[in-house]
Symmetry: D3
Subunit: 147 residues, 6 copies
Amino acid sequence: MKMVDVGGKERTERVAVATARLRMKPETVARIRAGQVEKGDVLAAARLAGVMATKRTPDLIPLCHPIALTGVTVEVTLDEGGAHVRAEVKTLDRTGVEMEALTAAATAALTIYDMVKSVDRGMVIEALQLEHKAGGRTGTWDRGTAG
Amino acid sequence: MKMVDVGGKERTERVAVATARLRMKPETVARIRAGQVEKGDVLAAARLAGVMATKRTPDLIPLCHPIALTGVTVEVTLDEGGAHVRAEVKTLDRTGVEMEALTAAATAALTIYDMVKSVDRGMVIEALQLEHKAGGRTGTWDRGTAG
Amino acid sequence: MKMVDVGGKERTERVAVATARLRMKPETVARIRAGQVEKGDVLAAARLAGVMATKRTPDLIPLCHPIALTGVTVEVTLDEGGAHVRAEVKTLDRTGVEMEALTAAATAALTIYDMVKSVDRGMVIEALQLEHKAGGRTGTWDRGTAG
Amino acid sequence: MKMVDVGGKERTERVAVATARLRMKPETVARIRAGQVEKGDVLAAARLAGVMATKRTPDLIPLCHPIALTGVTVEVTLDEGGAHVRAEVKTLDRTGVEMEALTAAATAALTIYDMVKSVDRGMVIEALQLEHKAGGRTGTWDRGTAG
Amino acid sequence: MKMVDVGGKERTERVAVATARLRMKPETVARIRAGQVEKGDVLAAARLAGVMATKRTPDLIPLCHPIALTGVTVEVTLDEGGAHVRAEVKTLDRTGVEMEALTAAATAALTIYDMVKSVDRGMVIEALQLEHKAGGRTGTWDRGTAG
Amino acid sequence: MKMVDVGGKERTERVAVATARLRMKPETVARIRAGQVEKGDVLAAARLAGVMATKRTPDLIPLCHPIALTGVTVEVTLDEGGAHVRAEVKTLDRTGVEMEALTAAATAALTIYDMVKSVDRGMVIEALQLEHKAGGRTGTWDRGTAG
């Protein structure tokens, strides 16, 4: 096993965006919107948990490098069918932040699940994926235009 | 915000099973099977990361209780279209382990993503979900038979 | 150094309440109330950080026992002169949760400080203290009635 | 919620100094001085816990950046009325270390509280505050001369 | 990979003792004894690091169960040829604490190494081993009398 | 106590190599080779635990600086008398990575111990030591040629 050597790579600006879709029952969405969740403010908790998870990524993903993060934004929105998480992570370092963005999106979605699971255990995270990354030797990648 | 009081609940045997499906290109599956991944043994790393993630769950999911885990098994299998993760977690405590099982499945899938992302950035975790839970006041829940 | 042996103590219900007072400028209070803080929702972040800090207490306070927490509530309120944090922690274990409650109150107050420090660096946490504890061999203690 | 983007800021030398005052009974001070505390050397434990807490700050304070620390010193002194903690933290990074210094001072004071709480539960941390910071775009701030 | 199921085992009193021997140059021992180490009090730091490491054991050793620890004592003594660490850990749980005791002894010895390595890089931890364990289904084991 | 100020040191390439020798019974070696260990793949787990431990080093060793790691490789091999661990860690930072390499080697060896301790409690880590370090103000050190 090895954490690959990135010592020969440049410190450059890198960004990654990941999203997660959590499908839930309409009445669960309504309950969150109405603020009727015993544990507290679901969307605020999900956003904060997502931001904090970026800092735990090297502890979770065994071969991830511990790196400096320069900025993190996590947004959570609701529609009729569930919640949508978007996490954007930036760094100025020798390796990318795809895993930090994916871990943030996953953790935010799981935090929502945790807060409303007592009323909707069947919720599914049905698309957790990288949307965009830029910077570094491999340059820009976008889900929309990738082959 | 609050971590709900479980002091009035009984210490009983509880189990939860969660799964994650990671869709990848057939050539990525082939590469993992052939052991041609620079970072090391992908499936062993994913299983171990999944097990270890159960122990970090209360650090990630803000309102989860820190609890004793009595057993954890994480299995990862490959088929033509990708990887399938199954995590089973057991406890003898006052609250369930759904979040531990889901966090294990998510982390195992993200670990695979990390190890082969340089050749397949478009991989998608397309179903991260609870399959089964038993024990506690709310009893047994199965995805197959839930309404 | 030693983490004292609590093996001879009973598992009983224990509770602790701690508070923190953060003195700030009236205009800082007004800014938080108006939701004009760039980093996000200050009070939600403070409450969540307080709850999460209870789970990190054994990592921070060297001789604290790692224990099961059954419930945690963190409340943050504003008045003209600043913020007031109240943290209540419960357990069913062999040792008390005073340190968990104090760590929660301190962390919630520091989180507020962090979110508005760019406009008010002079804020002071001017009273971080235990208010109440009950359970265990030493029984109940209340700040109001203690000698 | 967001961890604000510091990617446009310069890596410069930054320092922060925070202090905490823990008021205790004279006999508690005497007991610490006499080395009559069952758990061990109180001042050594407090200093070490303070240094270590600087490294946990991004885990505790949700929107803090994970940064490289170049130096940390924690001093704890006793007088008749209690203990005084002074924490100084340095970095060469894109954001300041005020939160690291405050977290170190808080943790050192709470560690003292933990080690002698069995004989003096009424101890109060009555001033946890930033004393000085230098470096970065906002320059130097001193409690003594701030408006 | 799996964390083996201990749900069928009894909660009983269990204890483990581990030791580590760190061989160093006589002049390094003399320097520690004289308190001439720039980083601070070597033995106090080693003891405290050892105690704290018991609480991080499940984070480090992948298949260790997270368990409640009821007591931990770490002793460090010096003789002419180096340092001797003895760590004793107790629990009332379903699995033993051998790994916690070994991790404490290793961490205490490594902490000493860290604090004096600038003057003696050749130090060797030459025996890190379990000395004794008691409790649980397999009963008592002693290094002295084991076959 | 202090984490010494490295702000005046240069960011340069630094490397450290540490090894650990775990002596075990021949039948224990045979069991690992045959893959007959209930907990799973011993060598894969040990390697991964070693890599991950490098990222936890500042949490364990009190006065270690939190630094960026550019590469980590952990190798574990078996011979008749036991296991040999070799950990190599690289950074481009202001301080060396000796402690990260030693912590990786210790953790990998302890992970093996954990996975087979039920059949061989008497295993001994009989040499945990730095083999080589290069880079930084003090330059290169090799165990073989050091006085």
